[in-house]
């Protein structure tokens, strides 16, 4: 894809010279048809599956959104975070705490996202001056504080969690039956994925990639590195919070495990399994991970051990995930074809 910096030199009072994407991507239809394909494929899969697998898929698409939000940080911007579950949990607890309100389910999701964004901005501001590794440590600490708070603050009910969170109804459709909730959640997920895809292809997204590849050079060509990093962190936090709200409505219960350190690790593993660099990698990885988990290790008592072995294998052998393996196979195929 051709990328050009705005030329000629901007006048003195112009804003930062954002990298402008080529006109081809400005009218790109990918933010529309890709989520649509995602919706159709997952829904088709949903209706041919037995009920217990439908349940797994229902959670998997929410995790797909969560993993994509992590991809915004790891894959797009090069921000390493080990406490992403905190934002998911904040979103889930926001929906849970507001359950008495007579709002529609979409309003709950909006609130979840908003509260998570506020939390992300605060943490991002505190950590703004840190180097990458220190920031990773900070996110881990913040995640742990959020986890501890669920036990310290009486409203949050500790290990019992908060239950009987209503699903409510949207446009007069009751979301209590699993099928109508499936449509609700997959449409919400697909729309948010589309918005994220649009952002990914926008000049803003290109600037984030520039920061990931070389923050010093990005700053040198005038990209406001700090504020864009903060914006990416807020975006990722907000989407994770929304996914958390959806998760709370889906399960109708929220427990501290949604905030836990192990869950943060699981999100990373999901995203990594699919491949951090491509847009759809984390989502694919999340769905794959959920099914591997359900089918192979569902009854295993050694969950943590197996999780660690999977992660280690992926990191050491397939660092660019399933998408990377596909790309490598395609390259091999192309090469063998050109040889003939």
């Amino acid at each position: 894809m051709s990328v050009s910096v705005r030329n000629p030199a901007p006048p003195i009072n112009a804003g930062p010279p954002f990298v402008t994407a080529s006109s081809r991507s400005r009218f790109d239809l990918r933010p529309i048809y890709e989520p649509l394909i995602f919706l159709l494929v997952t829904t088709a899969a949903y209706f041919v599956m037995p009920p217990n697998m439908q349940y797994v898929l229902g959670i998997a698409v929410i995790y797909a959104l969560l993993a994509t939000s992590l991809g915004v940080l790891f894959g797009w911007t090069g921000i390493y975070t080990f406490g992403h579950a905190a934002f998911f949990g904040i979103g889930a607890y926001a929906t849970a705490l507001l359950k008495e309100q007579a709002w529609g389910p979409l309003a709950f999701l909006g609130m979840s996202a908003l509260i998570a964004v506020i939390a992300a901005v605060l943490i991002g501001l505190i950590g703004q001056r840190l180097a990458k590794v220190e920031f990773a440590m900070l996110t881990m600490i913040v995640g742990q504080i959020a986890y501890l708070l669920t036990f310290r603050v009486p409203v949050l009910q500790g290990d019992n969690g908060i239950y009987s969170i209503p699903r409510g109804d949207v446009f007069g459709i009751d979301l209590t039956p699993p099928v109508s909730f499936w449509w609700y959640s997959i449409i919400v997920v697909a729309i948010v994925m589309g918005v994220l895809r649009r952002i990914h292809l926008s000049p803003f997204g290109e600037s984030l990639n520039a920061i990931r590849d070389d923050a010093v050079k990005a700053a040198a060509i005038g990209i406001p590195v700090k504020s864009l990093r903060l914006a990416a962190f807020a975006l990722a936090g907000g989407v994770a919070g929304l996914a958390g709200g959806l998760f709370a409505q889906q399960g109708s219960i929220v427990t501290p495990s949604t905030l836990s350190f192990t869950f943060s690790g699981q999100i990373i593993i999901m995203a990594l399994l699919g491949g951090m660099m491509g847009f759809w990698g984390p989502a694919l990885g999340a769905i794959l991970f959920q099914f591997i988990n359900a089918l192979v290790f569902g009854n295993s008592t050694h969950g943590t051990l197996v999780l660690g072995i999977i992660l280690l294998a992926v990191v050491m052998l397939f660092p660019s995930g399933v998408l990377g393996v596909f790309a490598r196979l395609r390259d091999l195929l192309m090469r063998s074809r050109s040889r003939q």
């Binding site: 505190i126 440590m137 501890l148 943590t304 280690l312 990191v315 050491m316």
Partner: protein, 293 residues
């Protein structure tokens, strides 16, 4: 609670934190690897001691042997990790290394759950060390005095090892410039392996020493690794002296929180971290050059 007893219990609380954090920061400073698995090494040390001692009341020699055995086994686990995983990733980017050590954390913790189960265990202290003594009219538990003593010995030992010995000279050389160290004929591979082993041994020692004071379970590592991350951030990444100062600071402020402001218990770390991050992001004694990650 008087001022003196609060102070001593704070220092005693800080010593295991110092041991874990100094190992972490040593490995980071020399090899450039932030070892997420460090907390799980710590737990293995604690669990090993609970197994060796069991439900008996150990004699002092048994206890010492158990603690040293814990540290030695953990050092072996660390060195195994270095040779099988970490060594092969030095040339890859930092995120790969972080994820790999995170995977090792999950593996070691999972293995510990498999071996020792999820229940928590408690062990007895040696009889001589379970009492307390009177100093200046206040009661001080003897075990706290032992911890303070061990902390002082390790701190001085580390200082001498790094600053006065031949091994320490090569460690410092490699920390400064690994390629140059290799060029002047240092066996960098071996030194890095030994540093990883030493750091792990410190984690194991900390776990072994703390075992009689807490209930030990495989998930003990989570809380502890986060606290030692907090200490490394406060003290400055890569500075052993910094982690000593930070551990004492954190230990003492936690003890004062327990004594005078109970609602802050468990949060003093995080408050200190937030203050440090706002005022001095590279830590108390951190050097600016450590932005290399």
């Amino acid at each position: 609670m008087t001022l003196l007893s609060t102070l001593i219990s704070g220092v005693a609380y800080g010593v295991p934190l110092f041991l874990v954090a100094s190992g972490l920061t040593l490995i980071y400073g020399v090899i450039g690897v932030l070892n997420f698995a460090h907390g799980s090494f710590f737990v293995v040390g604690a669990l090993l001691v609970t197994t060796i001692i069991g439900s008996t009341v150990p004699t002092v020699p048994t206890f010492i042997i158990a603690v040293l055995a814990g540290a030695a086994v953990v050092a072996a686990v660390g060195m195994l990790t270095e040779t099988t995983v970490v060594r092969h990733l030095y040339r890859r980017d930092h995120i790969t290394m972080l994820l790999a050590t995170f995977a090792i954390l999950l593996i070691v913790e999972g293995a510990a759950e498999g071996i020792w189960g999820n229940s928590s265990r408690a062990i007895n202290k040696p009889e001589i060390l379970s009492g307390s003594t009177q100093i200046l009219g206040t009661t001080i538990p003897l075990y706290d005095i032992l911890l303070v003593f061990v902390g002082a010995v390790v701190a001085i030992g580390l200082f001498l090892l790094i600053n006065k010995s031949t091994f320490g000279r090569s460690v410092r050389a490699i920390a400064q410039d690994q390629v140059m160290g290799e060029a002047v004929g240092l066996n960098t591979k071996r030194v890095m392996l030994l540093v990883f082993g030493l750091g792990s041994a410190l984690a194991g020692l900390a776990g072994a020493l703390i075992a009689p004071n807490v209930s030990v379970s495989p998930s003990l590592g989570h809380a502890f690794i986060l606290q030692s991350f907090a200490i490394v951030i406060i003290g400055g990444l890569g500075s052993v002296t910094g982690s000593l100062v930070a551990a004492l600071l954190v230990g003492v402020s936690e003890a004062f929180a327990v004594a005078y402001a109970t609602y802050l218990t468990g949060f003093t770390f995080y408050i200190l971290v937030a203050v440090i991050l706002l005022v001095r992001p590279r830590g108390l004694l951190g050097s600016a050059k450590l932005g290399r990650a």
